[in-house]
Amino acid sequence: MAQKVLDGLLKHHGSAVERTGSQHGDEIAWIKRDQLLEVARWLKTDPSMLFDAPVFVTAIDWLDYRPLNRPPSEAWAEGKPRFTVCYQLRSQTHRHRIRLEIELPETDPRLPSLSSLWPAFDWQERETFDMYGIKFDAHPDLRRIYMYEEFVGYPLRKDYPKEKRQPLVRRDDLPLNPIKAPGHGDR
């Protein structure tokens, strides 16, 4: 479907593409983060590409990920970068789509922000920062968007305890920070 986008990408920015793939009819290009901005600018402005519609940006946390058909002993995720950030783009003119995936190490999850090219990514990048702690360089206003400022940690990371609450206020007769048994919520 959008194989011609991948071909064009490989031709003009071959050094920026780590590998390409296709899944469920969507073409994916894994991009090196240093060259992301330049690739994205080309995708937006080149007359044969003209990606004018930003669809979404989100992140994936691969911590402890293991495909279902592998035995637990095989540490599949070992050596794999922890985070993947996906940008889905669409062109209204040429009616093609492309997904850019950028792999980020756990120790330094940062990449250039694309909100200068597509302003609609502004809040979505804030959401990705809020939920996964991915830092977007040169973002105009990288603050939490859903959670409150007092919140510590990033709730959609796989190592965030799933029922750990961080109350802002409690009744006078209830503790604000109850001591919790491991594996239980804050009830």
């Binding site: 959670m147 409150y148 965030y160 799933k162 029922e163 750990k164 109350p167 206020v169 919520g185």
Partner: protein, 183 residues
Amino acid sequence: MGVEITTTRIEDAAKWAKQSLVEKASNWGRKFSLFSYPFVTACCGMEFMSVAGPKYDLARFGAEFPRFSPRQSDLLMVVGTITEKQGPALKRVFDQMAEPKWVMAFGVCASTGGFYQNYSAMPGCDQVIPVDVYVPGCPPRPEQVLDAIIILMDRIQSGRGHSQLRTKREDIIAAQQAGEIVE
């Protein structure tokens, strides 16, 4: 005049029998003119509309008039999921209401957090404000809400709402400090 301390329900009921005529009359008036403040945050709001609308008609119980200002209402209906981020706002709304005031937790989300057991949802609005009556259900049927209103009316008449009890406690403490307590 001394203030009596009651500790059990039976004593409480006996005390109610001795309630002054003025208190009985004012509680009777209060229970038939509940002005509700719907703190609607989620899908339960649809059920609130249904129960407030003509078919189930909350007006039959004198609670028909939602006031969208907490200062003019005495029944806080917490309708829907409360998140931790909303906690301070909910507490503030409750604090703004004039005494005596009552709180209904409408739906399992407001009562216990429901199926939202995660980092963002508060496990019931009773974490922040005292709740008088809980209505389970996701969402509760209008009959359940009417039932809860009737239970609440009973409670108001017998002076056992949270804010009424708090007022009594404060009276007792004041009387103790003034040294006029009757055991």
